[in-house]
Amino acid sequence: MVILRYIGSRLLFLIPQIVGIVLVGFILIKAVPGDPATLMLGPMASTDSIAKLRTDLGLDRPLPVQFFIYLQKLVHGDLGTSWQTTQPVLSDLRTRFPATLELVSYGLLLALLIGIPLGVLSAVRKRGIIGKIGGMYGLVAGAVPDFWLALVLVFVFYSVLHWLASPIGRIDISVVPPDTITGFYTIDSLLAGNWDALGSSVQHLLLPVVTLGLINAGPILKMTQSTMDRMLQADFSQYERLCGLPPQLITRHAFRNALPSILTIVSVLYGFLIGGAVLVEIVFSWGGAGQYAVQGVLNSDFNPVLGFVIFSALFSLVIYFLVDLAYLAIDPRIRH
């Protein structure tokens, strides 16, 4: 019952938050100079046709009216059209958002695989070399720019060593991408039994995932280490030690208590990376959603930007919500 009420109240807040985000985005985008009508019709257009298009798009109405029109269309699932791709934004995002999601998910997975073990180890063995490495890693990973690391990796593994063939794009050009079920090339090709596509998409995922994984392991490691540290110093751990429990068990218990903080940082990173992976997307010509939005801002193409903002905000909110649910599951104190 309590849980249902909690979920209900959270969902209730979702709507105004989304509206708030759309409002901020709308104001911001409208402040960016550039006239979509001229850009859509091209330089050969007559002033008449431009004026007509502006009326069609509703650009001649006052801003609050435009906002309400946008909201109206939004409720019906119409995110507008991008003048660059001449496609509806919704369908553009349907292909690009999973692309970013796939990249970010695998990247975070790798980051977790690197960050958590190292974090736990460096908290447990603070004095040894692992502890020092752990501390260093967190700092270094946070300092290295992700697009630069991507460049360096491409240079080393492709230009110099030739270990990987053309690490650009999500899949090799000669290989047909699998039919879209989830939008994740890896999952879709697995489901279809298409081994060529699987192999090619995995190969293309390698470098960008490594880039994101190495860098984002930093904050995860730091958070794991500091939380584990605190848990190991805490009274309950001291008590367990007094009681003579084996070290493995103590560590496991401490880790269980550290999980909420780790979950927090993962959720924050997840939400951040949807838009934050854009630089890596650009280096690898990934065709992701962040890249799509950035191109939109740079070229005065408003609808993709707003569409992306909505998608990513929704996604963040969903993630936070799921994480909160996970807290409920992990931390018995919250239930009361």
Binding site: Q17, G20, I21, V24, G25, L28, I29, A31, V32, P33, V124, R125, K126, R127, G131, L139, V140, G142, A143, V144, P145, F147, W148, L149, L151, V152, V154, F155, S159, L232, Q233, S237, Q238, R241, P247, I250, T251, G271, F272, I274, G275, G276, V278, L279, I282, V283, G290, A293, V294, V297, L298, S300, V305, F308, V309, S312, A313, S316, L317
Partner: protein, 322 residues
């Protein structure tokens, strides 16, 4: 003999003696800290060096950072050009040491602005939260607004701000400031919430000390440490953001030396084998941000009284056997 205490003494001299005492303590702790953890000194060394180099760059740079000389384009590192030249013949070394002037300036000023503005709003919000009436309502409204701002994808937000204000250094500073305000807002607010429940604040309130004096003299100084720690880390992160913006083309104008735009300009050359125009600025960037991160870590340590106490022994604390 009149008892000199905080509430009897002249305001100015009391504050001064407070500051001196605190600084004195601070310095002692700082020196002790460096003795126990010598590694952190590297952070200070790095940042000071970078700042120094940036300051004297016009004097020590062998070439002008914006002088394109086609006759020496894309040369690998040699004695004449220690870090090589880029595709228009500009000397990479000169550009790398001139770049921090822009990068540091933007990051430091932007972060400072955001910390001052964000902290002020945050302190106000935290102090007046859960009081009744308009103050409570507006503080809640501000928090929801901060939520919304933070949910916005940072990078897109920054690019849009630059597009709105036009491509210039000022707009970059504004973008950095804007993007970081929610962080300080939240930080300060949580600190203020913690401290305003303390006894001495309650005492001051009962004595009738006006609100803004309470905030200014009691609450803020006691909550400033985490903000300082965040400041340093934030500066590092802001440098990365500036570089990222320039990489995408929304940053400084060409050919202004700036680490991110240097990496971007050198990107096509990396594929054809000329790695130096992109790699060196990236290294400089990473090292600088690393330095700031170390500084931030040291401030964080010093701000925590529990960890500060462990310095007394002169050695890093023994890890709890696990």
């Amino acid at each position: 003999m009149p008892i000199k205490n905080r509430f009897n003494a002249e305001p100015t001299s009391a504050v001064w003696s407070l500051i001196l005492k605190r600084t004195g303590y601070g310095l002692r702790y700082f020196v002790q800290f460096l003795r126990v953890y010598p590694g952190y000194a590297a952070g200070y060394v790095v940042v000071l060096t970078v700042a120094l180099v940036a300051a004297v760059a016009p004097v020590i740079a062998p070439y002008s950072p914006v002088n394109a000389d086609a006759s020496v384009y894309l040369q690998p590192p040699t004695l004449a050009h220690v870090l090589g030249t880029d595709s228009t013949g500009m000397d990479v070394f000169s550009r790398v040491i001139f770049a921090p002037r822009i990068d540091l300036a933007i990051a430091v000023i932007g972060t400072l602005v955001s910390s001052i503005v964000g902290s002020s709003i945050g302190a106000w919000v935290g102090y007046f939260q859960s009081t009744t009436g308009i103050r409570s309502f507006s503080s809640n409204a501000i928090m929801r607004a901060a939520d919304v701002l933070q949910a916005f994808p940072v990078f897109v937000f920054a690019i849009a701000l630059v597009a709105v204000f036009g491509q210039s250094i000022n707009s970059l500073v504004l973008a950095i400031a804007f993007v970081n305000i929610p962080i300080y807002l939240r930080l300060m607010r949580s600190q203020v919430l913690r401290i305003r429940d303390m006894r001495y604040v309650e005492a001051a309130y009962i004595l009738g000390v006006p609100d803004w004096v309470i905030i200014g003299r009691h609450i803020v100084p006691n909550s400033i440490a985490p903000v300082l720690a965040q400041l340093s880390v934030n500066i590092g992160w802001s440098i990365l953001l500036t570089a990222g913006l320039s990489f995408v083309g929304a940053g400084v104008r060409a050919p202004t030396p700036e680490w991110g735009s240097m990496i971007a300009m050198g990107f096509p050359n990396v594929m054809t084998g000329q790695w130096w125009p992109s790699v060196f600025p990236g290294l400089a960037l990473a090292i600088t941000v690393f330095g700031f991160a170390l500084i931030g870590g040291s401030i964080e340590f010093l701000a925590d009284p529990r960890r500060r106490r462990t310095l007394a022994s002169g050695k890093p604390p023994l890890p709890t056997p696990a």
